[in-house]
């Protein structure tokens, strides 16, 4: 499987995690399924909102954006585009930084861990590393 395909798969998986948390914030899902940690404590804290919207909804939008980019990047039209690789590195890089900040808040400010948030942070990190691999493969020449 090629790097952009891996990114698309990870982004779709992450989108469902973010959608789950977003539906919880919207009250569609009664309580969070949380086998490890204290998901409700994290998701009802003041840091669960960013720029007026739930952090989970921002995450969902980010995953959808990455999925769209990666899916276009594996299509015939987008396959050759190096700009997509740069865009993926930029978006996933920013997302990793944001996820790291949220994880810091969980550990040292809220003192509670949300397993879904940690899962999302790991997916973001995986996408960032894969997007670096994708970019590295494209800088300097013909692919494959």
């Amino acid at each position: 499987m090629r790097p952009r395909q891996v990114i698309a798969v990870l982004a779709l998986t992450g989108a469902f995690v973010a959608l789950y948390l977003t539906l919880y914030k919207m009250g569609v899902i009664g309580e969070l399924s949380c086998s490890v940690g204290e998901c409700e404590t994290v998701n009802t804290s003041r840091w669960a909102t960013f720029l007026g919207g739930p952090v989970a909804a921002w995450g969902l939008a980010t995953y959808v954006m990455i999925l769209t980019l990666a899916a276009f990047g594996v299509s015939e039209r987008g396959e050759g585009s190096r700009k997509i690789s740069w865009a993926l590195v930029a978006i996933t890089g920013w997302s990793v930084l944001f996820s790291a900040w949220l994880t810091y808040l969980e550990l040292f400010v809220i003192h509670a861990i949300c397993i879904w948030c940690v899962t999302s942070a790991c997916i973001m990190l995986g996408m960032f590393v894969t997007s670096l691999v994708d970019l590295r493969g494209r800088i300097g020449g013909i692919e494959e």
Partner: protein, 254 residues
């Protein structure tokens, strides 16, 4: 390099060769489809999971604690709410459904409504919130404090602060309490007996999660919407009323 034909070509930076769809593409799209369908089923299962426990009949004839009353105690239908100030679902009910309940049922004289504290142990600031509200009740402003606590829940809940008292004091000021009197009451943790009594009443009727409502004689769990709430009220109105527990009356503002 793709194949033998390209073997002699020189690599040029920035040039990426168009290639045929890889064999792995089919597997890739299949995997996406599996994740999409699997994720959709997973979320649909979670969303359709009953948020409320089955409705049960409970005995409300011998209420030991008084709770906080809104409305006419001799209204045709008696409603008890057991809630935790830090519980998100309780906050959701308070903000979304309760305004309609007040305007269309309580103020219309159809329902007498009693709020019972049910502070859950995992919510470390909830008991203090109950004390803050009980102290506001001393000045006949329980419902104003109740509303302020739920409205501002994210800023004073356990995840946000270990010192919710400073926020409660701000609310006391905002709703026009005599802050000095309220503070004395709050710091002395007055009304703990009343709060524990309310909690014990919840234990008696079998409350296991919040919010739980007793509407007439039916126990309903979860942050239900107005239509569902009204359905239970209509159902209870068709039955002989249960005797209401005696207690002081507070009037909620809209």
């Amino acid at each position: 390099m793709a194949g033998g034909r390209d073997a002699g070509k020189r690599k040029r930076p920035g040039v990426v060769k168009k290639k045929k769809p890889a064999k792995s593409s089919r597997g890739f799209y299949l995997l996406l489809a599996i994740i999409f369908i699997g994720g959709g089923v997973w979320l649909a299962t979670l969303a359709s999971r009953p948020k409320a426990a089955p409705v049960q009949e409970v005995d409300v004839t011998a209420a030991a604690a008084e709770g906080y009353l809104a409305g006419n105690p001799s209204a045709p239908v008696q409603v008890l709410e057991f809630a935790d100030y830090e519980c998100p679902a309780c906050g959701q009910f308070s903000l979304v459904t309760e305004p309609d309940v007040r305007r269309r049922l309580i103020q219309a004289g159809l329902v007498s409504y009693r709020f019972y504290d049910f502070p859950l142990p995992q919510h470390k600031n909830s008991l203090q919130a109950s004390i803050a509200a009980a102290c506001a009740d001393d000045q006949k402003k329980f419902w104003e404090m109740h509303d302020a606590l739920f409205f501002n829940q994210p800023e004073w809940s356990t995840g946000a602060t270990t010192n919710p008292g400073k926020f409660f004091q701000d609310y006391a000021k905002q709703i026009g309490l005599n802050v000095d009197d309220w503070k004395k009451c709050f710091e002395a943790q007055q009304h703990l007996t009343r709060i524990y009594g309310n909690r014990k009443e919840g234990d008696r009727v079998g409350v296991s999660q919040t919010p739980t409502f007793v509407i007439g004689r039916k126990k309903v769990v979860g942050a239900i919407g107005y239509d569902e709430f009204k359905m239970y009220v209509d159902s209870a109105a068709a039955l002989p009323p249960a005797p209401a527990p005696a207690g002081p009356k507070s009037t909620p503002k809209q």
